[in-house]
């Protein structure tokens, strides 16, 4: 991509506040002010749309290498751009697993070649995600991919001693362990949230305690060894309470919530349609409310999509045989607007913190999540919160179609995404 073209974004509301023009040149924000002269720059009319720093997703499944039938780095990063993202962290549960410098370098290189957003590979904590032996975390950290986030996501590092060692070891290169909190014995064969609905449907239950027990243990471990801990996809009220308590004790823990856990509830499983099957499972309305409050008060630091593409044959089955996971990149901002902004729980500055600045900081993505200020990298998302749309998975940039929002009317639309001054999306269309 060339950076010789300059862009003038006219009449944007910066973080939803003051109206201003932004001049982008040489990959940076060259000027911010009212009535800036185009002076040969391409003009993008924002017409009062909200300007946000480019979004950063700490939890994305790009499926490459291994499951290119579901998603590739190229299609997934296009989906990210369409959702307003300029950076994604690609989870390690590929085939082969991203547990060596070779695999993380491959993913990193594929991301650069695609060029739609920065792709930061996540390294596996243990060899093959098996939870038995540490992967070569240092080699991944030292590789050109500069891995700083390590996760066995999809699997829990359930062995307490191994988790302790991982937390300690990554301190040497400022890494963080992102834990998929799921006590394996309590969730053998689990299909959905354990409660009234699972009992009625005869689907094996996934108790909240299986998540909460691991989070509590890991917070205590992280505190004990003085390490950073990140908790993936928090889904229960109890988890929010435990993290709030851990933070009050000074534990260096951060946590994420997915858009779907902010909106959807377990009663959707009544249809037995596996588009609603996800790990961790959809929970109750009470959990949803607690997650929203936790995100608003900062107990939960960020929103991360857990974008999990699957081919149709993995979802057009009996519930128990279907794959777990749902698409998220192209609907995340709309769901956050619907659940957090339109409800008055967050303003756009708060959204920018939770979907850009803080995830970039947790992942140590230095040029991402920066403020919209002169001299900063021109990673910008233009978003029209007054628009509405009916979600149509067939129109998505992702290779897969497993969106739980199909047919729903959601607010907002990403008008444009700029990656270092270059538009990846303009007029709502991929460039």
């Amino acid at each position: 991509m060339t950076d010789t073209v300059r862009y003038l974004i006219r009449d944007a509301r910066i973080l939803g506040g003051e109206r201003a023009d932004l001049l982008l040149a040489s990959g940076r924000i060259e000027a911010i002010g009212q009535g800036l002269s185009a002076d040969g720059a391409e003009v993008v009319e924002a017409a009062g749309a909200v300007a946000l720093p480019g979004l950063v997703d700490l939890h994305t499944h790009l499926r490459e290498p291994g499951r290119e039938d579901a998603e590739t780095v190229a299609t997934g990063s296009r989906a990210a751009a369409m959702g307003g993202y300029t950076a994604v962290f690609a989870m390690a549960n590929t085939d082969p697993v991203a547990d060596t410098a070779g695999v993380v370098e491959q993913v990193w290189r594929l991301g650069r070649e695609a060029g739609y957003c920065d792709v930061y590979p996540v390294g596996a904590v243990t060899v093959g995600l098996k939870g038995e032996q540490l992967a070569e975390l240092g080699a991944m950290a030292d590789s050109p991919a500069r891995v700083r986030v390590f996760s066995d996501d999809g699997m829990c590092v359930s062995d307490a001693l191994l988790m302790r060692r991982a937390l300690e070891y990554v301190k040497a290169f400022d890494g963080v362990i992102a834990q998929h909190a799921q006590e394996p014995r309590l969730t053998e064969g689990a299909q959905m949230n354990e409660g009234v609905v699972s009992d009625r449907l005869g689907l094996a239950g996934w108790p909240a305690v299986a998540e909460e027990a691991i989070i509590a243990r890991d917070c205590l471990l992280a505190e004990h060894v003085g390490s950073r801990l990140h908790v993936c996809h928090v889904s229960t009220k109890g988890s929010v309470q435990i993290i709030r308590w851990a933070k009050s004790r000074g534990c260096d823990v951060t946590a994420e919530v997915t858009p779907h856990h902010l909106l959807l509830t377990d009663d959707l499983a009544e249809s037995y349609d596996p588009v609603y099957k996800v790990n961790p499972p959809l929970r109750t309305a009470e959990d949803v409310q607690a997650l929203r409050e936790g995100l608003a008060d900062g107990t939960i630091d960020i929103v991360a999509t857990d974008h999990a593409p699957h081919p149709s044959e993995a979802k057009e089955t009996e519930w128990s045989q279907a794959a777990m996971g749902m698409l998220g990149l192209e609907t995340a901002l709309s769901v956050v607007q619907h659940t957090m902004v339109d409800t008055g729980l967050l303003d756009w500055a708060g959204v920018a913190q939770r979907m850009s600045a803080v995830p970039a900081r947790i992942g140590r993505a230095v040029d991402q999540g920066r403020p919209l200020a002169v001299g900063e990298p021109a990673n910008i998302t233009l978003y029209d919160p007054t628009a509405t749309r009916v979600v149509d998975p067939a129109a998505m940039a992702s290779k897969s179609r497993n969106s739980p929002y199909a047919g729903m009317t959601l607010p907002g639309r990403v008008l444009a995404t700029f990656l270092r001054g270059v538009p990846t999306v303009l007029d709502g269309k991929i460039q």
């Binding site: 299909q191 409660g195 009992d199 009625r200 005869g202 689907l203 037995y272 519930w319 128990s320």
Partner: protein, 313 residues
């Protein structure tokens, strides 16, 4: 009523219609020629993903007594064992013009999924640990025949409630029909949210036993023991088995039911199973009548009771 997927979908009137129709159709089984032309020209597919000879032949007999063409599709040795999906099997059945599909499957919700992919009527013949509505209907039919009523009847259901599709369907249907159900099991074998179910719950069989008009025993699989649901078969049997000694403490008019297959010596002793107050064999007989009624009502046959010569439609 287009499908029969859950006992909870039935209104009181619909459930009673099925039971009344079953009673009428039961008379066919008492004639020398056990056949009605009611469903002539209709095709019923028995789609069985789980081995269940007893349920399959019950549905098969029901369909054949009403002159339907019956295709038995067993997952074993078919395209399914070669990896064909339920959806593709459904589309195949659809293309072959199945008017009704009776499905037995190890996955909860399989019948519901199937109903989205075929136009014909779907009858849930047991889906995972979810439901088994025709079992509940034949149980209700049996209780009504034996006890003369369902309203106010006190029914104890004893055993592995958590994993039982029979228990789920029975709780829903008996509640609709006005019976009072008490579930009896060790806490490990009860669903976590059982307090939200429309029934009573007890951990103490001996306390519930003398107050019950019907005692329905459920099978307890030995594999549950290995998963720590209870310590040993002997301990289970001691606390929750219907032994001869417990049987003696039942009310004189009370009956013993079991959906089968029984594990004699585990949840029920042999002498109780074989006693005159055990309805196990009647349940099998009634199963055919109830399934005839369900197929008849779903596939839109015409009533052709003895002495009638009505046209099929």
């Amino acid at each position: 009523m287009r499908h029969l997927l859950s006992a909870g979908d039935l209104t009181r009137d619909e459930a009673l219609l099925i039971l009344d129709t079953a009673r009428e159709l039961a008379q066919v089984g008492e004639r020398s020629v056990k056949k009605l032309p009611t469903l002539r020209g209709r095709t019923v597919v028995n789609l069985f993903y789980e081995d269940s000879t007893r349920t399959r032949i019950s549905f098969e007999a029901a369909a054949k007594r009403m002159s339907a063409d019956v295709i038995n599709f067993s997952a074993r040795g078919s395209s399914v064992s070669k990896g064909e999906s339920l959806k593709d099997t459904a589309l195949t059945l659809q293309a072959m013009g199945a008017d009704g599909v009776v499905i037995r499957h190890s996955a909860s919700g399989a019948a519901r999924r199937l109903a989205e992919w075929v136009d014909g009527a779907v009858v849930n013949a047991g889906d995972g640990t979810h439901e088994h509505p025709t079992q509940a209907l034949l149980d209700a039919f049996t209780m009504r025949e034996r006890m003369g009523r369902l309203e106010g009847l006190r029914v104890a259901v004893v055993g592995d409630i958590r994993h039982s599709r029979v228990a789920r369907s029975n709780v829903l249907l008996l509640n609709t029909l006005g019976a009072e159900v008490t579930l009896v099991a060790p806490p490990t074998l009860l669903p976590v949210s059982v307090d939200a179910w429309p029934c009573e719950v007890s951990y103490d069989f001996d306390e519930v036993l003398p107050k019950s008009d019907v005692v329905m025993m459920l099978r307890v699989q030995a594999e549950r023991m290995n998963a720590s649901f209870f310590p040993s078969a002997r301990e289970y049997s001691r606390r929750y088995g219907l032994t001869a000694e417990r049987f003696a403490r039942m009310a004189d008019h009370a009956i013993v039911m079991h959906p089968g297959p029984m594990i004699r010596g585990m949840e029920i002793s042999a002498e109780v199973a074989d006693s005159a107050r055990s309805t196990v064999v009647e349940q099998v007989t009634n199963g055919v009548s109830v399934r005839m009624a369900v197929l008849y009502l779903l596939l839109g046959g015409a009533i052709q009771g003895p002495g009638h010569q009505g046209e099929t439609r």
